[in-house]
Amino acid sequence: MLDQTTDTARRDWLSLLAKSPTGRARDLLSALDLSPSHELLRAPEIGSVMVRGRAGGTGAPFNLGEITVTRASLKLACGTVGHGYVQGRSKEDALSAALIDALMQTEAADHIADAVLAPLRQEMATRRATRAGKAAATKVEFFTMARGED
């Protein structure tokens, strides 16, 4: 079994892959021209996850509604198992995520991290920063015109 630090790293890349825009991770992976042989453990499957919120933000959980999620699992020829979970309904993306997850546990990890995960992380951070910047520009700066007292 993987140790704690690896679990954290794996959690990070799986989360990144799950949230990445449709087709993006797949494109970055296919640009590498790797096609490692593998067998499917779980064919890509589209399903849903019930999202839960909390009353008052911090109180008792309640069911908010579902999101679509697609998952797949595969095994490389060396026996390494990869799992892919992606938001949305792209079976190709779930397969790519599973393949990337498997490769990240092999000697190809550094290469994949540089060529796939790093640009993905960068693009998503940029998108987020752009929106945060626009939000910041709509922050109200109050100034007092006149006070009613005196």
């Binding site: 799986l14 839960r52 911090t58 069911n63 626009k134």
Partner: protein, 370 residues
């Protein structure tokens, strides 16, 4: 009752063919793409996701296209699709305090940590038709500013520090799910919140408005309204730990309500809560007001008989798919039902006419004798 009848297949096929053509409209006008709907009619997409109770923007945009812009029809399509999906599980409860806020306002505190962030709002627009949009839709890029790493805490959190607002309360880890078990009354708050978040926006708005106009008034302030993205986390059994499986935009509204105390509770502020998929501000505020109105019993308030206090009334009539299903079914063939009604009316009428004729005859007897 309605009875299955055969026949009309060709008429139905032709009606559907014509529906397809009407959906397409004038072929000299460019066809609308699903991506255009997703990007440019985002608030419509948000509503379909919220009331369809399935967060998938591409699917909601397609449903809007298929339904020719009929929102309830689009929501119906999403609800039907949803039932075909296997459910992988439930997420960990969202942490809305970690939201990447694109809008965050408070009507109760001017200077609050994190500030008032207006975001892409219709507020302060003049509601004048913009003819430039018809002529030329190009827009300049919105200004940007340096961001700060300051936290954006929940407003109710700092009211809570003084003990002036009720605690949010605990509950079961696995809340009841009305998509799995039929709604039963009395419904606890988690079930009510689930029903409200997927309820019809117009219905929720009307109910909330009725409380403002005095039918179960609860003096709501918008303590906070925030819109932004939140990550969705789920435990993955094969991994043995939780990962983020997606990211969704949400609108959260917390109302702070005046409360003078009751038999069981001290004077304090109480809370109403709204949380809705997408940028859905009106719905979220409505949800919070109705949630608060429905809490009269647990807060020891009087039931003044207002519609918004009646949990059975609100929850049984807020779902637009249930409502439209029952409403629209009356246009389907009810030939047998109607035939029996027709027979009944004819019989009753005949009896009345016969009775009248007999009476007339009795009155006419003396005249006839003359």
């Amino acid at each position: 009752m309605y009875v299955a009848v055969k026949g009309g297949e060709r008429a139905i096929e032709n009606a559907h063919a014509w529906l397809g053509e009407e959906r397409r409209g004038d072929r000299d006008i460019a066809e609308l793409s699903v991506a255009q709907i997703r990007e440019q009619l985002k608030l419509a997409v948000n509503r379909v996701m919220a009331e369809g109770s399935l967060y998938d923007a591409d699917l909601a945009a397609l449903a809007i296209k298929q339904a020719r812009g009929d929102m309830i029809e689009a929501i119906f399509l999403i609800r039907a699709y949803r039932t075909t999906l296997p459910r992988f599980g439930g997420s960990l409860p969202l942490d809305t305090a970690e939201m990447a806020c694109e809008r965050r306002i408070s009507a109760t505190f001017k200077d609050l940590p994190g500030g008032q962030v207006l975001g892409p709002t219709f507020d302060y627009t003049h509601r004048l038709i913009d003819f430039q949009l018809a002529a030329n839709g190009e827009v300049a890029e919105a200004p940007s500013r340096e961001t700060s790493a300051d936290p954006v805490p929940h407003v109710t959190g700092f009211l809570n520090r003084e003990g002036l607002i009720e605690e949010a309360g605990e509950g079961e880890d696995t809340p009841p799910d009305l998509t799995r078990e039929p709604l039963e009354f009395p419904a606890d708050r988690s079930l009510r919140l689930q029903a409200l978040t997927r309820s019809d926006e117009g219905f929720a708005l009307g109910m909330a408005y009725s409380t403002q106009r005095g039918y179960g008034r609860n003096h709501a302030f918008v303590g906070e309204l925030r819109i932004g993205e939140v990550a969705v986390e789920m435990e993955i059994p094969e991994l043995g730990f939780a990962i983020e499986i997606g990211e969704i935009t949400l609108t959260e509204c917390e109302t702070v309500n005046q409360f003078t105390g009751s038999k069981t509770e001290p004077p304090q502020f109480t809370r109403g809560y709204g949380l809705v998929f997408g940028q859905s501000e009106r719905k979220s505020i409505s949800m919070a007001l109705v949630d608060r109105a429905l809490r009269w019993e647990e807060l020891g308030e009087d039931n003044v008989g207002a519609p918004a206090q009646d949990v059975e009334f609100v929850l049984s009539h807020g779902d637009n798919i249930q409502a439209t299903g029952f409403l629209e079914h009356i246009k389907l063939p009810h030939y047998v039902d109607f035939q029996s009604e027709l027979e009944l009316v004819r019989t009753l009428r005949k009896e009345v006419e016969e009775a009248r004729a007999a009476a007339d005859m009795a009155n006419q007897v003396p005249e006839a004798a003359e």
